[in-house]
Amino acid sequence: MKKIYAFESKCLGCGLCEVYCKTAHSKSKDIIKAHKQENITSAIVIEEILQPKAVSYFALQCRHCSSPKCVKACISGAMYKDEKGIVRNDKEKCVSCLSCVLVCPFGAIKKSINGKTVSKCDLCIDYGKSLCIEYCPNEAIKLLNENEAEALK
């Protein structure tokens, strides 16, 4: 399967990926409405790395682990790995107990602002394309399969 990889040397920490993540996961699919009317939490964590001379960043998303700890910790069965290998969270079933947040070793799952569920990257599977990648101004995140990732490592 393909997943999203972040390039620390390219990431600007601008936050556009988060904006488009929220848009892709909104009902309206409209940037302004998604932000002004819908309470959406982005599924991206922007990591900040303080270095002696500069700050660098990278946008971190779910690694869709082969043996996901979050799925095993989930008490409601909301978190699951689908047939494509994408780790997804069924918002209907999620009770926001945060067991997944407790065990994700990447810190890639967030409690959602509305408090009712958690937010994590699902590769925009319902939207059809990963908007974060499309709108990253610096090609700092890419959707790659295993071999492509290995080549760019």
Partner: protein
């Protein structure tokens, strides 16, 4: 600070209906114009810091931002304009020399726009470059008086060293230090893909870039920064920089804060030290001295590399060019007064030097009259804005052009004229790692390739229109030009006829 006369130059207008408080603008503005007020959940702006670089405007996902001229007016006065008054305010506060970036912005005539190109109609056919061969390749370097062949038709004449350019365009000298490493990488990779050359400027050449050597012109300037044998041999040609169009007669100054580890190693100067390029070369006071430098460089490189000499377009550029040819240069580079710079004293930038079009015409004319034109290639620069400017330059006698401002605009420069602050939001004229990152060479080199390829297509179209199938056939062919809105003197210097003649 007390009384401060400084007022904003630009006003940032935020459409609150569109602003989603995503704070991309806050994070992207190195000048800290935008800030987020978490209490009121609004993004605020501090207009006075805005240089109008458009970074926030371009990145704003909802296009909620507009930047426009700050509407504060002075009493209207054609002489004491607002910029004149503001400059006086500034100098009376700081006591310093005014510094500016990019080229001369004053409304002097732009001769490119007063020359028109010819096209074939009926009596000679125009050529469709998409169907027929069309050559835009040029060879830069001196050409022999005549060619001798042996009985078998083999060339006997020893050719002077040449640089082959797939199209008559090169990227101007912009030093590593004045521009970022990523900008350099984008230029180097684009030049390589395009089969042209970029120029190191006076900043030396990082060893990581030696692999682009075939497409690199290495520069030797008055500070001699980063000059050593490997460097001289690394490039396709060597350029001695005497002067620069944006600031003729003035040296360069790279502030110590831009001299980080990598720049320091490349320039061979201590970290954090100011890199000062003197106004003159202290070993050149005559054409004879110049000849010594040219030949010592040729000697170092086994006479395999053409040596260019670059001067600013000044009043007696033609006579100086003649001297340069006689000193043994393989190419003369002339930079007009609109040529860009990272930083120049404003008064020098705005008042010194002459237009490149006139200098080019005068130099080409003079070298022909002296029958030494074949001994050099003539390269010009100083605000080449589009492919038509190039075609006109070639018709006036140029072999090739350097593009600098156009290249950085392709890299994202929005001509905010703030290079000297080192805070370039587009990652071009900065050494701050966080900002340098914004220029992703993988993306940006393609934009350069796109730009130059597009121009080359246009050049071919215009050549074809004139019924010419090789750029060499256009060189110095001033019959292809007509003047418009020019006086007799200007027509004489340009040696072109008036439209209708």
């Amino acid at each position: 600070m007390g009384l401060d006369f400084n007022t904003p130059v630009f006003e940032v207008i935020r459409n609150e209906k569109k602003c989603i408080q995503c704070q991309v603008c806050v994070r992207q503005c190195s000048n800290k114009v935008h800030s987020y007020d978490s209490q009121d959940n609004v993004v605020c702006t501090d207009d006075i810091k805005c240089v109008n670089c458009h970074r926030c405007v371009i990145l704003c996902p909802t296009k909620a931002l507009i930047i426009r001229k700050y509407p504060l007016e002075f009493r209207e006065n054609a002489n004491w304009t607002s910029s004149v008054i503001k400059e006086i305010h500034k100098q009376s506060q700081t006591g310093g020399v005014l510094l500016s970036s990019m080229g001369n912005p004053k409304p002097f005539p732009i001769y490119w726009d007063r020359m028109l190109l010819n096209a074939s109609q009926v009596t000679n056919p125009s050529i469709d470059p998409l169907r027929e061969p069309m050559e835009t390749k040029v060879m830069i370097g001196g050409k022999p008086e005549k060619l001798d062949f042996d009985a078998k038709g083999k060339l006997m004449t020893k050719m002077p060293p040449q640089v082959e350019l797939r199209m008559p365009i090169m990227f101007s000298a912009m030093s590593y230090g004045s521009i970022s490493r990523n900008a350099h990488e984008a230029l180097a990779r684009a030049a390589t893909e395009l089969g042209i050359c970029y120029n190191t400027g006076e900043g030396g050449l990082n060893r990581d870039f030696y692999k682009y050597g075939k497409n690199t012109i290495v520069q030797v300037a008055s500070g001699r920064f980063g000059v050593h044998r490997d460097y001289l041999n690394a490039g396709a040609a060597i350029e001695i920089k005497i002067g620069q169009g944006a600031k003729p007669g003035i040296g360069g100054h790279l502030p110590g804060k831009k001299v980080g580890e990598d720049v320091s190693a490349t320039r061979m100067i201590p970290i954090g030290s100011d890199a000062i390029s003197p106004a003159p070369h202290h070993d050149i006071y005559s054409i004879e001295d110049l000849r010594q430098l040219i030949y010592s460089l040729k000697e170092t490189t086994n006479y395999k590399k053409p040596v260019f000499v670059k001067i600013a377009a000044v009043h007696n550029a033609a006579a100086i060019a003649s001297g340069i040819v006689r000193a043994g240069a393989d190419a003369v580079v002339v930079d007009g007064f609109r040529g860009g710079t990272g930083a120049a004293p404003t008064r020098v930038r705005d008042n010194v030097g002459i237009p490149i079009e006139l200098a080019l015409a005068a130099i080409d004319q003079r070298l022909r009259e002296e029958e030494i034109r074949n001994r050099v290639s003539l390269i010009i620069s100083g605000s080449i804005r589009n492919s038509a400017d190039i075609v006109k330059a070639v018709a006036l006698g140029a072999d090739a052009v350097y593009i600098g401002s156009a290249a950085v605009i392709a890299l994202g420069c929005h001509m905010c004229h703030s290079c000297s602050t080192g805070k370039c939001n587009w990652g071009i004229a900065t050494q701050e790692l966080e900002l340098v990152k914004r220029l992703n060479p993988d993306i940006m080199y393609k934009r350069l390739v796109n730009l130059v390829s597009a121009w080359n297509h246009e050049i071919q179209e215009m050549l074809g229109g004139m019924g010419i199938n090789a750029i060499d056939s256009l060189r110095g062919n001033r019959l292809m030009l007509r003047g418009i809105g020019l006086n007799e003197k200007e027509l004489n210097i340009l040696a072109i006829k008036y439209a209708g003649e």
